[in-house]
Amino acid sequence: MGGVDVGGGGKGGRKQLDSEINMIPMIDLLMVTISFLLITAVWTHMSRINADAQVPGPPRPDTEQDKVEPEKQLHVEMRSPDKFVLIWKQGGTVVSTVDVPRKDNLTVTNGFKDIRYPELAAKIESEWKTTGTHRDGSDKKFDQAILHTDNETPYVYVVGVIDAIYHAKRPYTVGGKSNTLVPAFNVTFAVN
């Protein structure tokens, strides 16, 4: 039997402070706990990547809509098979354009396709650091990325590019603490 010393010397006449744990129920409990956890275990973890449909809300009566300056937006073009085009636009004005060579490193494992664009991710991050508007942790708004893709592109490539856009992270202040890193961009799709 296992014993647990809970202190005290155990002088004559005083209550015994040593107590024993019965090993058989303890091992039974551990076994049952392990069985329960193994049966209920989830080994494949699903996650999500977010996108914003940019549905405009009603105009605020206290702000003059005409004086609102349009923000810079990053347009990510993935129509070309050999390059991505990153275009910063402010309203209808093109601020800057950068080409990123496209390498589709598609891997297939058990029928599941996986594609990564590390060069695109690195370039988007550096672009955001130089041109992004909402970089401060206390800023509640996020920079907007708009994805342009042609109609036949398989979904796995679209997710690869969205994942690369979300590689750029910024601090976000929650309850006075700015230790949370969140994606720097909100992603939406271009209609055309």
Partner: protein, 185 residues
């Protein structure tokens, strides 16, 4: 019946030599093995701690049969929201059929999917009735097969937005961050 003192009961006048050898310890190696209780309990406790740390109370998110989800690194945790699954040309909302994508694939044009729109709108109305006074979160999770065309994805995305779900999430298989591509934080 008299109570007898416990002890060996082998009768020496019966020639069971192999039993005699076993009892005397002169036989082969014993088949009983001792187990160290301390090591065993250590192992069990470590296993319990590991399983508790990996335990997910939310359970497994149901994935539609035949849907191969893409993988992504920069992901968020799953949330409780209506799930729109697209496999082949069939659209399902929380496991119930809600239209198909054939018309979009044929026309190659962005268009609203009426059946999906009505289904999502009905769910939104139901949520508002069951949660009076609360803001509708407007979140929907798209569970789309990896080979579905972008025009279908965009059409479903727009349909969900029109039905009052502007926050659209794409369900993916989470993979650990590779660390490559860009600066580390």
């Amino acid at each position: 019946m008299t109570i007898q003192e416990p002890g060996r009961r082998l009768m020496h006048h019966i020639p069971l030599n192999f039993v005699q050898k076993k009892v005397a310890g002169g036989g082969g190696r014993s088949t009983n093995a001792s187990l160290s209780l301390t090591s065993m309990i250590d192992f069990l406790v470590v296993t319990v701690v590991f399983l508790l740390m990996t335990f997910s109370a939310s359970g497994e998110t149901p994935t539609q049969k035949g849907v191969h989800l893409p993988k992504a690194e920069n992901t968020l945790d799953m949330i409780d929201a209506p799930i729109v699954a697209i496999t082949g040309s069939l659209i399902m909302v929380d496991g119930n059929p809600a239209g198909n994508t054939r018309a979009i694939e044929d026309s190659k044009r962005l268009q609203r999917i009426d059946e999906l729109f009505n289904n999502l709108k009905g769910k939104r109305e139901l949520w508002k009735q069951t949660h009076p006074g609360k803001d509708f979160p407007g979140v929907v999770v798209l569970q789309i097969d990896q080979d579905v065309q972008a025009i279908v994805v965009k059409s479903v995305f727009q349909t969900a937005a029109f039905a009052g779900y502007p926050n659209v999430s794409f369900m993916v298989n989470s993979i650990p961050k590779s660390g490559g591509g860009g600066e580390k934080h």
